[in-house]
């Protein structure tokens, strides 16, 4: 390892992100080999561990006395033989940009229970498929659990490519088989990489044997997959864990922000009491904060003396979780004694424990076939959809939109064992309108197809790299004008571009939507999906949308792609925009014609870190376009 200036190194390594990876595969698919390979090829092994492994390899006569990386993770095998339960084993390694925590469920007993435990905290799953065996029943089960536990990113690593002559056809067949059944699951982001864990091909270093593989290596994917946008930054929830009462001063409510963003001065509501107050200060040892977001662990002081206790949840009054004494959930059963209807268990949800009974089991789901079956109980490792009735109301969100407020465990009151894990399901959709950022495809027959034209080929044809320029700013800041001027200029320069304009979309694809916050959000989701299609076609897309909040822009970035989206803030201040009011919109908003109009009846949040700022109240349209072109050039978008 080369280390230049240690101070520089430390500064750089302070900014790492954590990526939690869950690995699953059947016995002998090569999981241990792969994990060992990742550690080994990233030069992350200590020499004493290494020499132990090499000795052992030689002793077992493996690989002509060479190195068998799977022995690195074998430390646990002996223990397992002694009957020590290992539900999940954790490995750690890091590269310059990320710290990786690998959760592995070792052993022959690929219990659903252990997999659920390992998967519960992960951002990404590596599903191993043996190239020889292809997609098996186990692959389906692993994928189901990954989907059930809400892991957003899936990497299917097709291993042992050396045994199938590194055949592209074989790889494509496995990709097809997988996408075929995965369409029935809630897996949104699936990638495939052909590897040989044994010879290291495409794990950390590209394989010379598979020149046909265009995606990068597995390690490259792990280092670059965007997970920051997975967090829910919309629905503020803070479960109160602990109440501090310093000798002098106010009571503080300690907790970690589960989702959303809270700012000093925000109005908040305490659940279940529904009493309101304002955030007086957000305390931490390192000083007061202006705002807190996940996973910040903070101490919140309110302006009023309310009776807040552990188990309560702080939320924004305009955005409430469901508060109820019944909960619908998928439950993974983890105990030898089956779950029976009517029996009372302790239910722990965030910082609150209540007692609850299973009032009905709607069905059990077969993890291999995904079929639903009628049942009156759930046995060990079974999964079922249940309704629970509780001794007290708890504040929940669907697990799909909130992993913290949507999950709970069940504890046996006699043995104290953790017997079940629950994931809250959406109640029937009561709202007329929902945003569909997190909705899963509705048909089981849907499949995702891969284009036969690569993005490199398109880039070569058009002489440009696709990008989406998102112009954000208040109504009247000049978004539309600049968007069309930029499109004109690009076209004149020989580039291929088009404009997505808010009003135009509302005349067409989004004509069914109104102007509430939710509907505005859904309109932007559709716009983002369109922008992505346009980019996929190789074109530059110029978007003119108010896109009023950091959250919404982050979500759009999630759809469009981290690298592709360029965020440009047209910073003309409110007074100037009002002054201009070319379409008379401010006048109408003032008259109460629009709900949630940014700048009047809703807030407009300027981007904290835009790629480019255009002070459109100070510079001409021409000048703005010049700066945009210069910026696109500097990013290498324009050939």
């Amino acid at each position: 390892m080369e280390i230049g200036d240690i101070k520089e190194y430390l500064a750089q390594h302070e900014r790492k992100e954590i990526l939690r990876v869950f690995t699953c595969g059947s016995v002998d698919d090569g999981k241990s080999t792969l994990i060992g390979r990742l550690l080994f090829d990233s030069h992350l092994l200590y020499e004493d561990q290494l020499s132990a492994v090499t000795e052992e390899s030689a002793r077992r006569g493996n690989l002509d006395g060479g190195f068998d990386p799977s022995l690195l993770t074998d430390g646990l095998k002996a223990e397992r033989e002694q009957g020590i339960t290992i539900d999940v084993a954790y490995r750690y390694f890091s590269t310059a940009s990320r710290k990786f925590i690998v959760a592995d469920t070792p052993g022959h007993e690929q219990y659903t229970r252990n997999m659920a435990t390992g998967a519960s905290n992960c951002d990404l799953a590596i599903i191993l498929v043996d190239a020889n065996n292809g997609v098996t029943v186990q692959t389906r089960r692993h994928s189901f659990i990954v989907s059930l536990l809400g892991i957003r990113h899936v990497l299917v690593a097709v291993n042992k490519m050396d045994l199938v002559d590194y055949s592209e056809a074989r790889f494509n067949q496995i990709v097809n088989d997988f996408t075929g059944f995965a369409a029935r699951l809630e897996l949104r982001d699936i990638n495939f990489i052909p590897i040989s864990a044994l010879d290291g091909g495409n794990v950390v270093n590209l394989s010379e044997n598979m020149p046909w593989h265009r995606g990068g290596t597995l390690m490259h994917y792990l280092e670059h997959v965007v997970v920051a946008t997975d967090r829910n930054l919309i629905d503020f929830r803070l479960p109160v864990q602990y109440v501090t009462r310093p000798e002098a001063g106010d009571r503080g409510y300690c907790g970690s922000v589960a989702s959303g963003v809270v700012r000093r001065g925000d109005e908040i509501m305490v659940l279940p009491s529904r009493r309101r107050s304002r955030v007086k200060s957000i305390l931490t040892y390192d000083g007061e904060l202006e705002e807190a977001f996940p996973p910040n662990a903070v101490n919140i002081v309110l302006e009023d003396q309310l009776d807040v206790a552990r188990g309560d949840v702080l939320v924004h009054p305009g955005n409430l979780p469901r508060l109820g004494e019944t909960v619908d959930a998928m439950i993974v059963w983890m105990d030898e004694n089956p779950m029976v209807q009517g029996k009372r268990y302790e239910l722990k949800h965030m910082s609150k424990t209540v007692s609850g009974a299973v009032s009905s089991i709607r069905y059990r789901i077969d993890v291999n076939t995904f079929h639903r079956q009628n049942t009156s109980e759930l046995a060990l490792n079974e999964i079922g959809r249940c309704t629970l009735s509780l001794s007290e109301a708890i504040a929940v969100d669907p697990y799909r939109t909130n992993r913290v407020t949507g999950s709970f465990i069940l504890v046996d009151r006699l043995s104290n064992a953790t017997v079940g894990a629950g994931m809250v399901i959406d109640r029937s959709r009561v709202q007329e309108w929902t945003e569909h950022w997190d909705t899963s495809p509705s048909s089981e027959a849907l499949q995702s197809e891969l284009s036969r034209v690569s993005s490199e080929e398109r880039a070569a044809r058009f002489g440009q790299r696709p990008a989406t320029v998102l112009l954000t700013g208040l109504s009247g800041a000049g978004k539309t004008t600049i968007a069309y001027a930029l499109e004109r200029r690009l076209f004149d320069m020989g580039h291929a571009a088009n404009v997505l304009d808010g009003q135009n979309l509302r005349l067409g694809i989004s004509r069914d939507l109104g102007f509430t916050r939710t509907e505005r959000s859904e309109a932007l989701r559709r716009a983002a999906e369109l922008a992505r299609v346009i980019n996929d076609a190789g074109l530059i897309c110029v978007c003119a949308f108010v896109s009023p909040s950091e959250e919404i822009r982050t979500r759009m970035r999630g759809v469009i792609g981290e690298q592709r989206m360029i965020l440009v803030h047209l910073s003309a201040p409110l007074e100037v925009c009002r002054e201009r009011d070319e379409d008379g919109l401010y006048a109408l908003a003032d008259a109460g014609e629009f709900t949630d109009f940014p700048g009047v009846t809703a807030t407009y949040e300027a981007p904290a870190s835009p790629d480019l700022v255009l002070p459109t109240h100070e510079i001409s349209v021409e000048e703005s376009v010049d700066r945009l072109i210069a910026f696109l050039k500097s990013r290498g978008m324009l050939g």
């Binding site: 390892m1 280390i3 240690i6 101070k7 430390l10 390594h13 302070e14 900014r15 790492k16 992100e17 954590i18 200590y46 020499e47 004493d48 561990q49 430390g75 646990l76 002996a78 223990e79 339960t85 290992i86 084993a89 954790y90 750690y92 890091s94 925590i101 229970r113 252990n114 435990t117 905290n121 920051a228 946008t229 930054l233 602990y242 501090t244 310093p246 503080g252 907790g255 970690s256 305390l283 931490t284 390192d286 977001f293 996973p295 910040n296 662990a297 101490n299 983890m334 302790e346 949800h349 965030m350 913290v404 709970f408 465990i409 504890v411 104290n416 953790t418 950091e550 982050t554 870190s609």
Partner: protein
């Protein structure tokens, strides 16, 4: 970086604070096991952060085997007692002291059993602690990779490998019967490098033994052992050599191997760590006594 990004150290910090608060809220008598080493320093700092501006609602416990490095004890008294003003309990197994138990004559296993494990259990029983924070990390050893964050102990402080609970999300099952207890490891997901980086970032004080200095050492079974006081039984004619050494982990001085090093600053230590060619527990005599000894220690209640 995307808006609302959190670096890995801040994230680890937040997760550890979450665990510390959970335990403080759900157990009647928690205690912080304080070993004076770098992990203990980090854990102490996190506990202070967790309840700021209030003070941590539990005491610190140090099991003094009477064979710790002198600099460790000086550091403990200066930092924990004076500077931070924390409530510190020190437990010494007086019966062991009377019997003259020492690592030279009684062997490391017997000595550790009596002066460390037994002493710890005495203190836990005496004060009826039902949750004890420890600074163990999963990356320390292969067999620790599977460790839970809440580790359950029966009435006799025994760890029953068959009776540990699955841990999903960040929901910890804190239910125990009277007399039972847990050990809690809030630093489970930290690695040795994370610990040092955090100490660097937060500018935390550590025992100077972590930094290289000329110290009097002798060689025992291939290990460099520092002669910290005149209780050390030198062979006839043997004279400690002064060598530039430091320690990667700290414990009882007769059982802790030093490494030769030029790292005199925190930056140097981290740099050396990054280039390290052997993992940290190797310096500990206790692990090498017998294969699998770590697991055994745990069943007996040491961890």
């Amino acid at each position: 970086m995307t808006a609302y990004a959190t670096s890995h150290l801040r994230q680890l910090e937040a997760e550890s604070i979450y665990v510390i608060r959970e335990v403080a809220a759900e157990f009647e008598r928690p205690v912080m096991l304080y070993s004076i080493g770098k992990d203990s320093t980090v854990l102490t700092h996190l506990a202070i952060k967790a309840f700021y501006p209030a003070r941590p609602p539990f005491p610190w416990l140090h099991v003094d085997t009477t064979w710790k490095f002198r600099e460790m004890i000086a550091f403990r008294d200066r930092y924990i007692k004076k500077e931070l003003g924390l409530d510190l309990i020190v437990n010494v197994n007086e019966a062991g002291v009377k019997a003259g138990i020492n690592p030279f004559e009684h062997g490391s296993k017997k000595y550790t059993d009596i002066m460390k494990t037994e002493s710890l259990l005495q203190a836990l029983d005496k004060h009826k602690f039902d949750a004890a924070f420890g600074g163990a990390r999963r990356d320390e050893e292969l067999s620790r990779a599977k460790e839970r964050i809440y580790s359950f102990r029966d009435r006799n402080h025994r760890w029953d490998p068959r009776n540990q609970r699955p841990e999903l999300w960040n929901i910890y099952n804190a239910r125990i019967n009277k007399g039972e207890s847990i050990r809690v490891f809030p630093l489970s997901n930290w690695t040795e490098l994370d610990i040092w980086q955090y100490i660097y970032k937060e500018q935390l004080p550590v025992v100077p033994l972590y930094f290289a200095k000329k110290r009097p050492v002798v060689e025992r079974d291939g290990r460099l052992i520092m002669v910290d006081d005149d209780r050390f039984p030198l062979e006839k004619g043997e004279k400690p050599k002064r060598r530039q050494v430091r320690f990667r982990t700290l414990g009882c001085y007769p059982l802790t191997g030093a490494i030769e090093s030029k790292a005199t600053t925190l930056e140097d230590v981290i740099r050396e760590m990054l280039l390290a060619r052997s993992s940290e527990r190797q310096g500990r005599v206790i692990d090498h006594d017998k294969a699998g000894s770590m697991e055994e220690k745990k069943r007996e209640g040491y961890f």
